[in-house]
Symmetry: D2
């Protein structure tokens, strides 16, 4: 009963096979190989963005931090949800890579900002002179850290506020595939058509070994990004092994199949929880379920093999705590049934 | 005839097999898995350093930059050879990660500093007051960028100078296996026994997919390093796939077998070049051969399939240029023979 | 009617005279002169901290940013009030100088945090592993940005929470003299006796030309601070002219006399406003008065010569806005009367 | 006999008087006052650069570091002489403020680079790809750290090389007035007409209290510089006191009169030294004299009241060492005679 994280799953067999296949003979290093060109091309097609600049890296924090450093001046302010991964879980990486930028936290139910809340937060920082720093970037996580998603209209609404304030827009898409699967929107509709400048697209949580892509829809936005990636140590020398993952992950829509599987597992789990009187806290729209349970029940489930993170939430008390249940491409009906049986 | 870089080789079959084997079921993420513990333990054994702090990352620049940032204060100066990779090829990453540190370049024949040259360079920066910055770290590349190696006595001699000046010592060991194979010294003798504080140990050039280890021989030196690695985006979530590479690479001495193969190939190539009247420029001690050739010959060899980097060197002229020939774990006698035949 | 800022006042005649007097002959540069030693000694006496490390700089942002960089690791989090100057008005300087640290904003009425609010905010950032960054520093502004003050008990209460969480404590004392004058507490009681590690003590707003002091009560906390100050360009070469200001400002308690004058002027202004039906928004405890007025009245007052900053506050509307009235060592009864007459 | 540094001199009476005069009444803070506008205008006139962007700060390191940070990307390389102050004496400030840039040191007799040496050094860093960083800025010190000067042709020759390599040009003009006085060239001829983008113009060593100006001849180069200055803590709140210094220093050519005085004193001192058999090491062109003397003589002179820095130079030995004698606006014929008498 592994609901601890989509990072604890392994690598999809087709992706592992692609790594082995890519290991045939030598290839130019540092991304000058044919697979890398192919992967970038494939991403451009999928995003309907023939000019997009595409960069592959190995980790989500690397992807987020580098993308934000590219969009934000050192004196800039990055607006994000108060539960955004870039705020809670990256040890300050993005602000550091941007040269000492800052994050402006925005509230919102279950991981989602509203345009109104964003506008209010921006208004907290009037732009009078150099004391004020620069309101520079909006970063939206999609799917969010609370397992909800922004559909295309929601992304567009937030982008409109950001652009109206002269800001660029970044999407932390560590679970972007889940958002695409959940909304049915096209990748383009969830990004550049809605006003997004750069996407950190996550593969690692969704079947890859270590693969994230940074996509700048307007290549002018990517100027000198290669230097940033290099000096941060995020340019793989045997780059074909990033590209091979990307190609296999995207091939035949595997990335979305895996995301749909994870989302469906979460929905099934949520339904089961509701039936057993434990309705999830947040809307279950992607691959995460948050549920408040008697602490004794949580302990019993763990004793029976459950892996799940504690996720303290407002309303928890001495007797009842909240846990996060993450489904992934490997989650089975048996795991779900076993968990529901224990609860 | 692929002599372009040891980065253009693929992954050794035993390492690729280990990745596949590691992909069985789920595992805790972020290095809390059993393979990671095993890999760290194995490195401690090999280095006879039971307390060493071991961190795995995916790239050599990440490994160098993070290790140096750990050893060097922001106002510090890192002494290195003027051809050191951290100076020439990392786009300023190490100095940046160290908070704006600087490199003090030291000359020396064929990539090697002498203790005398190092001492003279340190003397260029008297330590009177806060204007002067801090002479903080010595970074030795071993094997060097010119294919030479430092034996244990040479490392110890440099460390003595550095320690006498109150400095810490780092080894850029992107090709450390080649240095061990070339010198016959133990890993411990080439590092902590000689006075080295931290080693960036490279696997990627020597049969791995993406694997480098940062080893701090005194764990007190590693305090808070985990934060550095995390915020720089160098903590892999599916960390077992770093560890699996390490274990397979070290298993049964594979790492040294591969290095010996590469070194032997370079020696064979050098001998052939000498026989054909093209004596290598620098002593061939590891897996790199630098040779000055008529430019017409270089062009002909490339037309025949040679991959090798131009490596401009003092003494080149209009008619004759220098190239770098790198051998690796995949280099075959046929490739060498073919190259010698073309020349 | 200059209530725009205490920065728009000039230099007290005794301080200007001290500058002229210091200009007699030559003196060692970079703080090795006798006046500097004298100023440091005088501050140690006043703070009853014979071992304190004292550094003079020219600006408040320099003082804050350097002090916080000293206390906070790059992966650290600095807790401060959401209206703290380091958050709103320093263009990200402190977080940048600390190597990419972040600020965690804490709410509280009229610029003051409560221990409860601080504890709750710290609890938002559990310290599990390297993803979480480090809860590192509490920064208290005293007097606050809303013209209120923390008395010794209030400082101690906040420090207790911070220290309980393993954090260091900084005071932004741009208006520290006003806080001392307002509370009647000793400088020691408001700082190290309450648990404060470092103070940025402001002279510029209180009669100096350009003078701030960074005081570390435990000199061990100041290790290598001189390098930070130097590389940031905050070590004056003609350092005696910082020290001369400090000595004259402290001489005979001038610093507190000037602060008392400013506080009394604010109290008089507040009383007048109350009498005229315009009660200040925030408690008037130091040298700032915030008042909501009909916008037409504000415009009329400005037309009549009022200088005061707009200070948008919750509750403002189309008809009524809030302004900030800052009194200083130069504020006269005539200015106050003139303003009250206009209103 | 104060030949220790031009920083140990005091403030010229006319400048001190201007500070007192500026202290009349209140003035807008942060550079929005009339004196600041006047000072910027005066500098634009003197440099015949009506569009130049002018920023005042209080220290030379602040001025250099901020100017270079503005011109150099984080992955950039700043070429400078190996004895440049930014390399030897600023504790890494410029490279840090530029986001982790690096300095590429260039040799040259007595503090001067030649175009050939600069071109050779640039050629050390071919610009192939992102590994290589960016050759970004040339920084020329004028007058140099060895008391020599670059005339307009020399500056133009270096600028031509830099511009040919796509680089911007900065002048560290801590002693720029001395260079103008020595060469007789116009300020414009020594800067923008020769190809210079930004000048750090020093007043502190030349009669001011704490005053440096950063001048960008093309205002487009200064975009967002105000944010850099602010967050580094280099925007004075009582900014009129920077501007008042500038105005008095420039008024009636005082800045050049003072520089001429210092230069003449150095020439007189050099002549005296030559007459007494102690010919200066380097050409004496500005206000510094370097002379090798028997160590016993140096000791005797110090015992007699000489203040001068040891300045170790190639050729020193056990018996003879080199000292630096700096003349300033306060140097008197008596001081020179007294020194010569002792020697």
């Amino acid at each position: 009963m592994n609901f601890g994280s989509d990072n604890s799953s392994g690598v999809h067999p087709r992706i592992m096979a692609a790594l082995a296949a890519a290991n045939d003979g030598s290839a130019p290093s540092y991304g000058r190989d044919a697979l890398t060109e192919g992967a970038a091309g494939r991403l451009r097609e999928i995003f309907e963005a023939p000019d997009a600049a595409v960069f592959l890296v190995g980790t989500g924090t690397g992807s987020n931090a580098l993308a934000l450093a590219q969009l934000c001046p050192p004196w800039g302010r990055i607006f994000c949800h108060e539960t955004a991964h870039i705020e809670t879980s990256e040890s300050g990486g993005p602000a550091w890579m941007a040269g000492g930028a800052s994050l402006a936290l925005t509230p919102g139910a279950w991981g989602r900002m509203t345009p109104q809340a964003l506008a209010a937060r921006i208004a907290d920082y009037p732009q009078v002179d150099e004391h004020d720093g620069r309101n520079a970037v909006l970063s939206i996580t999609n799917a969010t850290e609370w397992g909800t998603v922004h559909d295309a209209a929601s992304v567009a609404g937030l982008c409109a506020v950001a652009r109206g304030a002269g800001m660029a827009v970044h999407v932390d898409g560590a679970r972007f595939a889940n958002a695409v699967a959940a909304t049915g929107a096209s990748p383009a509709a969830l990004t550049w058509r809605a006003g997004v400048d750069a996407l950190s697209l996550g593969g690692t949580k969704n079947g890859c070994l270590a693969l994230e892509a940074v996509v700048f829809f307007d290549p002018a936005r990517a100027q000198d990004f290669a230097f940033r990636r290099m000096r941060a140590g995020h340019l793989w020398s045997k780059h074909r092994f990033l590209a091979a993952q990307a190609l296999a992950w995207l091939e035949g829509g595997l990335w979305l199949d895996l995301a749909r599987h994870a989302n469906a597992a979460a929905a099934e789990l949520a339904a089961g929880l509701r039936n057993s009187g434990h309705a999830p806290l947040a809307p279950v729209e992607a691959n995460e379920v948050f549920v408040r349970l008697p602490r004794a029940v949580i302990a019993r489930a763990r004793a029976a093999g459950l892996r799940a993170a504690d996720w303290p939430a407002a309303g928890d008390d001495e007797d009842r705590g909240t846990i996060r249940l993450v489904t992934g491409w490997t989650t089975t009906a048996e795991e779900i049934a076993a968990l529901l049986a224990v609860l």
